[in-house]
């Protein structure tokens, strides 16, 4: 695809040589991890296509939309209320933050002991490698951790950054703060797009995003069947792609994939005979952060759930659709987003309950808790998660790693030993 898009990438200011090598590495990585799987669903062809065109066709679509006056808003967090962006005629996309590319550039302006996700998004920008970042009219940051909070200050020298304050507790005052932030965001989006948010367009946007959540919920129900009908890697990829692709098209395509999956479940066909069912829990896994999932699924286990922002944390709760007035709808949005059990909250007991419930529902043999090195909130919570799971009689393995490949062998040993233990 390189040749036909080069002019566009050049226009966006990408470093063409570095970007070409990035795509080569990604293509190989994708081939090893995804294309090598046996008996995949036909519906995954759509995902393969989206990934192969992730920096191509999708970016062209964004360019065309921008040419028609639509605005593109990029985010790094599931807290940014998407409904508001779509209601105002904007397009919301996730941004590149799952690969080591650009780390060297990032370390020029960030401390070395910063989590890989933060280093990655800054690195992608400084090394001019992410066409999504370059296509954004506004990038929404948020205060989910100190690292991100301070990184956005530095990042704002390089990109049009808007920061939302995320409360850290869930009392009445915090809800009021969050509502004020949602209203402030609404105004900022209206200013940017020049389009007012009305009860009508907001209701439409709520339904649009709920439809996407519902199809992912359906996918999660189907994948949990015994035998497991789809690899956890494939489902993770679907969740990752949900942040990039057009929501309507995505919902339709994943709906078709679910139909196929349903038939497969009826026929009782599995993808991983005898593999131990595990739940992956913890930090988000931005595309192409597939290292740990790949290790897990090549060590005799299969992931049947992701308790993650790129997983159930993002799809579990819908926005109530019964609101009639703009005020009621905004309140429903405030409510829905306040249910997110990010580790930035204190206390955060609902996350512990969710993990234990999910582990039981999915009938897993164990939970693998993934923490990004230097991500304090999740590292701290991993102790509590382990304790809650132990009390429920469910074993947990805590893994802390980043996007580099240097610890692959150690990780394999740990994961394999965990699988041997829970089998």
């Amino acid at each position: 695809m390189t040749a036909s898009y080069e002019a566009m990438w050049e226009r966006l200011g990408l470093d063409l040589d570095a970007h070409t090598s990035l795509l080569e590495v990604l293509g190989k990585f994708y081939g090893d991890i995804y294309m090598s799987q046996q008996g995949r669903l036909r519906g995954m062809e759509y995902l393969d296509f989206v990934v192969s065109e992730i920096h191509g066709l999708r970016i062209r679509e964004l360019e065309e939309a921008r040419a028609q006056g639509r605005k593109v808003i990029g985010t790094f967090c599931v807290f940014v209320p998407e409904e508001i962006v779509w209601a105002a005629g904007g397009i919301q996309v996730g941004l590149c933050a799952g690969a080591e590319a650009g780390t060297e550039a990032a370390e020029k302006i960030l401390p070395r002991n910063t989590c890989a996700l933060i280093k990655s998004f800054v690195g992608f920008k400084l090394a001019r490698l992410c066409p999504f970042t370059e296509s954004c009219d506004m990038i929404v940051g948020e205060t989910t951790c100190d690292g991100k909070k301070k990184a956005y200050e530095i990042f704002s020298d390089h990109a049009p950054v808007y920061v939302m304050e995320i409360p850290q507790m869930k009392g009445a005052a915090d809800r009021a703060l969050w509502k004020a932030e949602v209203l402030r965001f609404k105004e900022a989006v209206e200013d940017l797009t020049g389009r007012s948010i009305t009860a009508e367009n907001l209701s439409e946007a709520v339904r649009l995003i709920n439809r996407r959540r519902r199809v992912l919920q359906r996918l999660n129900r189907l994948r949990a069947a015994q035998p497991v009908p789809i690899s956890g890697r494939d489902v993770l990829l679907i969740n990752q792609v949900s942040f990039y692709d057009d929501p309507d098209r995505f919902t339709q395509k994943i709906g078709e994939l679910c139909d196929e999956l349903e038939a497969k479940v009826r026929r009782g066909e599995g993808v991983a005979d005898g593999a131990a069912r595990v739940l992956l829990s913890g930090c988000p896994m931005a595309i192409p952060n597939w290292k740990l999932p790949y290790i897990i699924e090549s060590s005799g286990a299969v992931m049947v759930g992701e308790e993650s922002c790129i997983g159930t944390r993002n799809t579990r709760d819908l926005v109530d659709e019964s609101g009639r007035t703009l005020e009621e709808m905004l309140d429903a949005i405030v409510e829905r987003y306040m249910k997110i059990d990010c580790a930035c909250f204190t206390p955060n007991t609902e996350r512990l309950e969710h993990i234990v419930d999910l582990a039981r529902e999915l009938e897993v043999k164990g939970v693998i808790h993934y923490g990004l090195s230097f991500c304090q909130p999740y590292a701290m919570e991993s102790f509590k998660v382990e304790k809650a799971l132990r009390n429920a009689g469910i074993p947990m393995l805590a893994v802390e790693t980043d996007y580099s490949m240097e610890d692959v062998e150690q990780l394999k040993t740990r994961v394999e030993a965990f699988v041997e233990m829970i089998r």
Partner: protein, 252 residues
């Protein structure tokens, strides 16, 4: 039929030949060198027809390079747990300090792995750390523990990071500190880290110490003293992984 267990570690490769009929076993050990496949070839030359179970970092090497053999792999965690349970059936915790990593494994009464801890990619507190420090003090690794036991004064070393510990040791030397005292401080640092891992998995007694570093008398003494009893030294400590692998191979 005999079963072969082979443990391909970062420093050495051990092989155990186990006879399930008699319960007897014998072992061999060779250095890993830069060509572990050639070393494995020596150890597996007469393995025809025997089931082989490989463990250790190089476990997949055997499966890849010896297609004619029937090879299974298990992790070091499983191998050490099995080996220790066989040698010391009452063992509740396994401590294995090897060349590249330290593992602490909690066992159930039946010898199953209940929990385990393993150091991350950093080699702090492992055999590698001791090897590096012995060479910077110019003491042969084999006698480094005995050398440390000649200490006559308590010196504290704070860093567990190989690079920083070396500069700390260097500055102690520059102040005229006896190298034996510095060696003792280095050993104590390893033991502090090991004890922290033991505490994390519960550290139920008896604790069985296996892996190459169990040959180091200073480490054994310091851990034994800190635990105040309940530390058992595994017989042929560096062969326990290969034994555990062989035992796994005898299972149906």
């Amino acid at each position: 039929m005999a079963v072969i267990g082979i443990d391909i570690g970062s420093r050495s490769i051990e092989r155990v030949v186990w006879d399930p009929a008699t319960g007897r076993w014998s072992w061999d050990k060779v250095p890993t060198t830069f060509d572990p496949v050639a070393q494995c070839r020596k150890l597996l030359a007469d393995a025809d027809g025997c089931p082989v179970v490989a463990t250790g970092y190089g476990r997949r090497l055997v499966a890849e390079h010896f297609p004619g053999l029937s090879v299974r792999t298990i992790t070091e965690i499983q191998a050490y747990a099995r080996g220790v349970h066989h040698l010391v059936p009452e063992a509740r915790t396994v401590l294995d300090i090897g060349g590249q990593d330290t593992k602490v494994i909690a066992l159930s009464r039946e010898g199953a792995v209940v929990r385990f801890e393993m150091n991350d990619r950093c080699a702090a507190g492992t055999g590698k750390f001791l090897e590096f420090m012995a060479s910077s003090l110019q003491v042969p690794l084999e006698v480094f523990g005995d050398f440390a036991l000649e200490a006559d004064k308590q010196v504290t070393l704070n860093s567990m990071c190989t690079v920083f510990a070396e500069s700390e040791a260097t500055s102690l030397m520059a102040r005229g500190e006896r190298p034996q005292n510095i060696a003792m401080a280095l050993h104590q640092a390893v033991v502090r880290r090991t004890l922290a891992m033991l505490r994390r998995v519960g550290g139920e007694r008896p604790v069985v110490f296996a892996g190459g570093v169990a040959h180091n008398r200073c480490i054994v003494r310091l851990i034994g003293d800190s635990l105040g009893g309940g530390l058992i030294l595994a017989e042929d400590p560096d062969v326990v992984g290969a034994l555990g692998a062989a035992l796994a191979g005898a299972l149906p």
